[in-house]
């Protein structure tokens, strides 16, 4: 069984040019230096899975990353593993350890991310102002 982690690098056996092109078109990135693949954010995971299943003729399992700690969320041991279509749900979940922090633990982790975007955006706006862009 091949385990693919979303947002994490992975390797694949040689699958030929045709499969490679189809994977790239479906939202897979390839790093020539490390020779590793990565599924891009917002990629069509279902079609990537279909292409790989056809090419490698092996069972492929998708592993979602944990939003909080960044490790694998543990999809194969998850209580919802048989009911969760990992190709159609959002690309991040939460692992068994981090879920213990509860809902507030989850949002506490998100606050700095949003704050970073806010300050980043403020800087971009200031930069634009300096360059003379029109601003409301």
């Amino acid at each position: 069984m091949i385990r693919l982690s979303i947002n994490k690098d992975f390797t694949l056996p040689m699958l030929g040019k045709d499969v490679f092109v189809r994977l790239m078109r479906s939202g897979v990135e390839y790093d020539k230096v490390s020779r590793r693949f990565r599924i891009k954010e917002g990629a069509d995971v279902a079609s990537i899975l279909a292409i790989l299943k056809e090419a490698v003729r092996e069972e492929i399992s998708i592993e979602l990353p944990c939003m909080i700690c960044g490790n694998d969320a543990g999809c194969s041991e998850c209580e919802f593993s048989s009911n969760c279509d990992r190709t159609s749900v959002a690309s991040r979940c939460i692992c068994k350890q981090c879920i213990k922090g509860g809902y507030y633990g989850y949002i506490e982790h998100l606050i700095p991310l949003f704050n970073a975007v806010k300050s980043e955006g403020g800087e971009v706006k200031q930069e634009r102002r300096r360059k003379g862009g029109r601003e409301r």
Partner: protein, 413 residues
Amino acid sequence: MWVERYRPKSIVEMVGNEDARLEAYRWLVGWRQGDRPLLLIGPPGTGKTTIAKALADEFGYELFELNASDERTKERLEHLIKPLLENANIYGRRILLFLDEVDGLHGTYDRGGLSALLSLLKDASNIPVIMAANSDSGEVMKELRKVSKVVRMKGIPPRLLLLYLEHVLESEGKSMSIGDRLRVVVECNGDVRSMLNMAQSLVGMGVSGMEPISYSTPIDAAINSFFAAGNMEEAVYALSRCEGFYTDPLFGYDSEKRRVDKLVALYSSIINASIDNDRMVRLLEALSYADILIARMNRLRIWSMLKYIDRIITYSIFNDSRGLSYSQYDMPYNLSSKAFNEGRVLRMIVDAIASRLHESRHNVVAYYMPYIPLILGRKSNSSSSSSTAVRIGEGYSITMDELEGIAKSLALG
């Protein structure tokens, strides 16, 4: 309703789709005049509307919302949005325009809506615009994708749903068995709204942990339970658990949809029942009102009202419908057999003429068949009618039985 009470006030408080939320947040933080509108695409209950509302709140925008229940023709859009755009800066108000369910722009009801929307989006470059769509397919979406920044959202993973459900239950001071919690999470298919509605109804009804919560009672069993229910609440419950739904004839009324259409199931059961005419009239009248209501809801896309339909139907037909049973045929047997036989004879005649004239069946029905009854009708008064009919029959290789069949079916025999 828990759905409204626990709608996150800020974008951080939502669950799931973190990258999409950050992307939407980044878009508004860095927004400046002339930027593309934001197009959120994702299944229902993933937080598209919540994102728009939360962003407006957080950044001090006044949200101007136009959803699918509003008429969105060219004239209407121009009438509503143009003044808004022209006056946006006059009073110093910061306005965020939110267009919900843009994928539902309808060709007939919203005529000219798409082109008007595209041109308004160009004009609306002085205010941020967020659009939301459930589906990504179709011509409307193709055009809108070209002019927007697209952010895709997906269903919420079950574990995050469970996290949110537990938070809501805790805040409400309610409890649910772990089995029920897991089943609610699994059955809502990544839709937070549906999860909260399901959980609230389970907690409110006090349904036991062992009772299945699946909405999958086959339509025949559900309709029979409806007719056999001892009181209105039981009847509403039977209808609400039915695997069927209320279809919209506008968007295709094929046999597959009819099979699971609750209204059609009730209709077919009523017209096949051996009841007196007055009772049938009352039942059919009540159903026709429900039908009108459903069609209006579908047309205006007021999905939030659909939840009242089961109750409305139950209250209007409950007393008169006691003792009936489910029937799947939407035509009484004596009528359906007559229609079937006539149809069979007509098909045989069309086949014979088509083969004789080397024409398609469609052309025979469209261009030749209208003359057959005329010929038969004109000749039927004369003494030579039977020999004329025989000659026509010979000409087209049609037997006398078939000619009689067509004449009878067209009420000329």
